[in-house]
Assembly symmetry: C2
Homo-oligomer: 141 residues x 2
């Protein structure tokens, strides 16, 4: 029986997610799945909460709740947005960047494993297909 593409996408995704989370936690940067998903969407120069909520596809209340926790953990900070005094910019702290570095390293290691299993050609094709798929599946690309 053919598993659906949905399931086929989900399996490696979760595999990677869990391994990265484990590694990051072991390195002293505990974070939950929901927190990490939001955290990933923060721009280099900082993101507004509402923008973040849209990107992560949660309500702004949920985003606010998660940012509270990321802030408590020392990964991000809120600061005033100079362009709009209603808004606040969520920016990544040094500690947050350190955590990201650990995550990225693991991620690259896993991608390398995958590339070794698939071969370089199929590996490039996979990424290319997913990038193209994003065009019609990510409203916030």
């Amino acid at each position: 029986m053919q598993p659906s593409l949905g399931v086929l996408l989900f399996i490696p995704y979760r595999h990677m997610e869990q391994r990265i989370l484990q590694t990051v936690e072991a390195a002293g940067y505990p974070i939950t799945l929901a927190q990490a998903r939001l955290f990933q969407r923060i721009d280099e120069q900082g993101s507004r909460l509402t923008r973040l909520a849209e990107a992560a596809q949660v309500t702004k209340q949920t985003a606010g709740y998660l940012v509270d926790q990321l802030e408590d953990a020392g990964y991000v900070q809120r600061s005033a947005d100079p362009d709009d005094s209603r808004a606040k910019l969520v920016t990544i702290t040094e500690r947050g960047r350190a955590g990201i570095a650990v995550a990225r390293q693991k991620e690259e290691a896993i991608e390398a494993e995958w590339a070794a299993h698939l071969g370089p050609r199929a590996s490039r094709q996979l990424r290319a297909a997913l990038v193209r798929l994003r065009e019609i599946t990510d409203p916030y690309a």
Copy 2:
């Protein structure tokens, strides 16, 4: 900037998941994400709770909670397992099967959309790569 493979896998996955859920709900078969993920793992001839919990990677308590709700909604039923009187078999009802049919139809429609966007060649390559990736990322394959 290159988005990570993890994110690239997640985006279309969630896109599909949400569209199917919407469709199924509109057709009169409301179900939550967590319920659906468990529901998908039920075998044709019925599954034991503990087995189901392992497959969906949740605790058996969580699986029990979700089966309660699926039972309330009329999608599954519990019956005694003839081979083991400790165990109960969770089986899919007629109503459950009707819901699955709606979901599958939508899933095929979305896959067709994707194939149209990627082209038949890249589309086949994508599936093939994901199937191969499963070999090293799915402990329950």
